[in-house]
């Protein structure tokens, strides 16, 4: 990033400003712009979320404030601002106030490396994907500190659950992320998008995409993985003692996180801003990214509002005994097949100039391997499920016999 390549910087410098200072101001403006995007989007997304949830549950949702209830979120914001901020007497005040800030910051920081268009990205770090994983791991810390600082047993219990959950699901998340990195041969976000010029990674490695989807969904702590705030068990978990705007910040962080995940899914597996004419019209590119993210965001909402909550032991078993081994095997299988394809000259290097037709052979092979893996997986699961049901049935039968004998 050079001063002459940034419009604002160039403008300021021509006005007689010190180049260093001009660069700094240009950077500052860029930062403010990039930060505003998720924060403004979230206001709209809260309305979308409530509307979709309502429709899925056969309700109307917000429809009083403004047309279609569009201004509902603003009403909610005014409400939150005029609420009293209660800090419990026993809480650790400094840490208590620090936690909601950290939870928003950890999510917003991800936006520094998200490519909006071919020419607009906060900063295209060489280690973009790793940066995302690293920054997102700070969110766990925010929840941990919130639970601890509240000095409340439910909050602490909630915080422990989070750490067990978020930390566990980070493993399949990263293993799933390794696959697009391997295909693109880079961790840079723009490189990953450019690598999908010929073909979206979703069509090559759908299993990784599904793994990333599930793991990132668990990372946000929403249903069916919403043990963090299981209302019926631990009231609201880590944020039980938070009120007013501080609670609002945890809330906002969660929404921004879900939307960020949708954008990341779009970038890693659905070609990011790629689309016809995207290279010439940045606005069109932004629209493509927005549309893809919106569809994925809708699926996140759909999942959230459809599946029942799992138990904590089921959640952890599912991760450590299913997703982790599966994601490891997935990485190895994709790596193996990819290497063979490269040795046989079937695989083409994936970059901005890759032709759609050239990618078809490798896509077909990778897709077939993925389908075979998925099929084997489902067959195995079905088998296991059938066995488990048989055992259950046998036990039930025994219970009935025993109960009958006792009754006599």
């Amino acid at each position: 990033m050079d001063c002459s390549s940034v419009v604002v910087c160039d403008l300021l410098r021509s006005g007689g400003m010190d180049p260093g200072l001009a660069m700094f101001i240009a950077l500052l403006l860029g930062v403010v712009l990039v930060t505003t995007i998720p924060l403004v989007t979230v206001i709209f997304l809260i309305w979308v979320e409530r509307k979709v949830a309502a429709r899925i549950q056969d309700r109307l949702g917000p429809n009083r404030v403004g047309p279609f209830g569009l201004l509902q979120t603003f009403a909610d914001m005014i409400k939150l601002i005029t609420k009293e901020n209660i800090t419990p007497a026993n809480a650790d005040r400094v840490v208590y106030n620090f936690a909601p800030l950290l939870s928003v910051v950890s999510v917003v920081l991800i936006w520094a490396v998200i490519p909006f268009t071919p020419y607009h990205i906060g900063t295209d770090l060489e280690i973009g994907a790793l940066y995302i994983v690293a920054v997102a791991s700070l969110g766990t810390l925010a929840i941990m500190t919130a639970g601890w600082a509240s000095n409340n047993k439910y909050a602490l219990l909630g915080a422990f659950r989070v750490v067990a959950q978020l930390v566990s699901y980070e493993v399949p998340l990263v293993f799933a992320l390794l696959v697009p990195i391997m295909l693109a041969g880079s961790m840079g976000m723009q490189d990953i998008v450019y690598a999908q010029a010929g073909m979206w990674f979703f069509f090559m490695v759908p299993l990784s995409a599904v793994l990333l989807f599930i793991a990132s969904h668990a990372e946000t702590g929403r249903g069916p993985f919403d043990l963090i705030e299981a209302e019926s068990e631990i009231i609201a978990g880590f944020n039980i003692e938070y009120s007013g705007m501080k609670f609002g910040m945890f809330f906002a962080a969660e929404f921004i996180h879900v939307f960020t995940n949708a954008v990341l899914m779009a970038v890693f597996f659905f070609g990011g801003w790629w689309g016809p004419g995207a290279l010439d019209a940045p606005l069109l590119a932004l629209l493509y990214l927005g549309l893809k993210s919106a569809v994925i965001y809708f699926i996140y909402l759909w999942v959230r509002n459809t599946f029942p909550r799992v138990r904590i032991d089921q959640l952890l078993d599912l991760n450590w005994k299913f997703f982790v081994p599966l994601s490891i095997v997935n990485v190895l299988v994709v790596a193996f097949v990819l290497k063979i394809l490269q040795e046989l000259q079937i695989a083409v290097p994936l970059n901005a100039s890759t032709n759609f037709l050239a990618t078809i052979p490798m896509t077909v092979v990778l897709l077939l391997v993925n389908v075979a893996m998925t099929y084997a997986l489902i067959a195995w699961l079905r088998n296991r499920g059938a066995k488990a049901r048989q055992v259950d049935l046998a036990n039930q039968h025994e219970d009935i016999v025993v109960a009958g004998a006792a009754g006599d």
């Binding site: 500052l28 860029g30 930062v31 007497a89 910051v105 439910y154 293993f175 390794l178 961790m187 705007m245």
Partner: protein, 120 residues
């Protein structure tokens, strides 16, 4: 210098990012009422008076999950450069990666067998 400029953006980002969540909280301070009393400030545990200390010892199970995660976290760090360079590597490199992951899968199997991954 080029690389550092990219990171200057991140540095400023980290500094600025705190302002956005802090702003609404500070604004709320001016608009919200402030009438604390002893009962309001009590720890809320379903309306029952809190018993004993909150910061007590907890289930060791959480710690075990943390340990297993830590090992995998370090493993993933090694695999990132491996994945980035993968297209330029030969079959030997695939073998090296395979062995690396295989050795760690051993650890997972050990943890599994020893019931370290069991919740109760």
């Amino acid at each position: 210098m080029n690389v550092l400029n990219e990171w200057a953006f991140v540095g400023i980002f980290i500094a600025i990012a705190w302002v956005f969540p802090a702003l609404p909280i500070i604004i709320a301070r001016f608009f919200g009422p402030k009438k604390p009393n002893a009962i309001k400030l009590m720890t809320y545990e379903s309306g029952v008076e809190t018993v004993g200390d909150t910061w007590v010892q907890f289930k060791i199970q959480y710690y075990l999950y943390g340990l297993v995660f830590l090992i995998f976290d370090v493993e993933m760090v090694f695999l990132f450069p491996w994945a980035v360079a993968y297209n330029e590597l030969n079959f030997f490199a695939f073998g090296a990666g395979l062995l690396f992951i295989f050795l760690l899968t051993d650890a997972l199997i050990y943890a599994w067998r020893k019931n370290a991954l069991e919740w109760s």
